[in-house]
Every structure is written in structure tokens, then in C-alpha cells.
């Protein structure tokens, strides 16, 4: 298992143990569905509740990381720093006006080792990147759109994706 696979497996187990319902969004979510992309962090979408805030502190402790802290004055998102890679937490919605409940309803379950990851649909990840519009988002859109088309073709033919 590569260090990256090991980290993602550890993160998913810690998420399960903490009890926080999180959807993996962004490039990490796309990569878990087979998109040939890389990332510098993991983005998680969660509901903003006091209990979830507590659970995220439990998660950060389990990962040997610092408590979640504000990323900047420009966003309500927080970052868990000190794990192998940064983990960014988006509360309630993500770019494109995509709300937690709607993203959850379209999400996919991906088997990762002996745990399951809940990942946003490629369609939602693409929509959020289109809305964010930063150069690093627009740069990956062509390969994400190609991946979505391949995923849809495989789904229509009986599903040979790992999801």
C-alpha cells in the first residue's frame, strides 16, 4: 500500500470512529472514482452542527493533528493541519451553491480497503470547480469531464467501475 493509500485508509477509519458524516469532495473525491488527478489536500463536506464541530476535534486528535482552525478570513472552511496531508472542512455547502443534503443524495460509495468512502458525484465535483473558477480548478475540468463520460458509459453497460 502506498503512503497515500495508507493515509486515506487511516483518515476514513478515523472518520468512521469519530461518527461525523462527511462527503469527500474536490480532487480527492474525483481521484477515488478513478479520475487521474492529484491533489494537495482532502476536502470534506459536513453539516455545521455543534456536535459535528466536537466530532471534528475528535477526528483531529485521532489523526495526531491540531484542532480545526480557520483557513482565512475569506472562508468559513476550517483546516486540520498536522496529519500527513491537510484536511479542509467545508460546512453545509460548497462552490456552486451545492448544499450538503443534495450532494449527499447524489454521492457514491467507494470501497477503500475494508472501509467505505462517501464521495461526491463527479458531476457535483465538476459543478463546484466550474463555479469556483480558479485556475487550479479549471485546469482539471477537461480530464474530470472525460472521466465522468467514461464512468457513465461503464455504468450504462453494467458497471465495471470500482464504486
Amino acid at each position: 500500500m502506498s503512503p497515500d493509500e495508507e493515509f486515506l485508509t487511516t483518515l476514513l477509519k478515523a472518520l468512521n470512529a469519530s461518527g461525523v458524516e462527511a462527503i469527500i469532495v474536490g480532487n480527492a473525491g474525483a481521484a477515488l472514482q478513478g479520475a487521474p488527478v492529484t491533489t494537495q489536500d482532502v476536502d470534506l463536506l459536513v453539516r455545521d452542527t455543534p456536535l459535528n464541530r466536537e466530532k471534528l476535534e475528535t477526528l483531529s486528535r485521532a489523526l495526531g493533528a491540531a484542532r480545526p482552525a480557520a483557513i482565512s478570513e475569506l472562508t468559513t472552511a476550517v483546516r486540520i493541519t498536522g496529519a500527513a496531508f491537510p484536511i479542509d472542512i467545508l460546512f453545509d455547502s460548497m462552490s456552486g451553491g451545492l448544499q450538503f443534503a443534495s450532494v449527499r443524495s447524489r454521492s457514491r460509495e467507494v470501497a477503500v480497503a475494508d472501509v467505505t468512502a462517501t464521495v461526491a458525484s463527479l458531476d457535483d465535483i465538476i459543478r463546484s470547480k466550474e463555479a469556483a473558477g480558479r485556475p487550479k480548478d479549471t485546469a482539471v475540468l477537461p480530464i474530470l469531464r472525460d472521466t465522468l463520460r467514461v464512468q457513465q458509459a461503464l455504468d450504462q453497460s453494467g458497471g465495471e467501475t470500482p464504486t
Partner: protein, 72 residues
């Protein structure tokens, strides 16, 4: 007697990689006519990433070691 449990990274071998290549090629030949405008290399890369089993050494992350320089 049950087969011993072998960690994926130890079980993954050239033979498994050859099987993966064959599986990717079969799907590629089936899908290629549907996506004539898609870069053939990208199509094969997407299929490989979709089909490669977890635990066989795939990289997901890049680290920035200094401005403009990234390493897996």
C-alpha cells in the same frame, strides 16, 4: 486449508499488472468508438485508474516543496 492472507502490495505482481493491462485494453477497444474526440492516452489512463485495485501503490497527493515545485 484457506489461502493465506497476503497484503495487496505483496500480492501485486507483474502477472496482475498484465491482467490489468488486458482488462484496460478490452474496455478501451469497446469505448474508443464512443469517444473519438477523447485523447486515447487519457482514456486508457482513466480506465487504469478506475480498475486498479486499492492497495497496489497508487499515488493521490502532491507536496509543494518550494514555490512551483511539487513532488508525489
Amino acid at each position: 486449508m484457506a489461502a493465506p492472507s497476503v497484503p495487496a502490495e505483496l500480492a501485486w505482481s507483474s502477472a496482475h499488472a498484465e491482467d490489468l493491462v488486458a482488462e484496460v485494453q478490452a474496455l478501451y477497444e469497446r469505448l474508443r468508438p464512443r469517444f473519438p474526440e477523447m485523447d486515447p492516452g487519457d482514456l486508457k489512463l482513466i480506465l487504469e485508474c478506475m480498475l486498479r485495485p486499492w492497495g497496489t501503490g497508487r499515488g493521490f497527493f502532491l507536496r509543494q516543496i518550494r514555490p512551483g515545485v511539487y513532488v508525489p
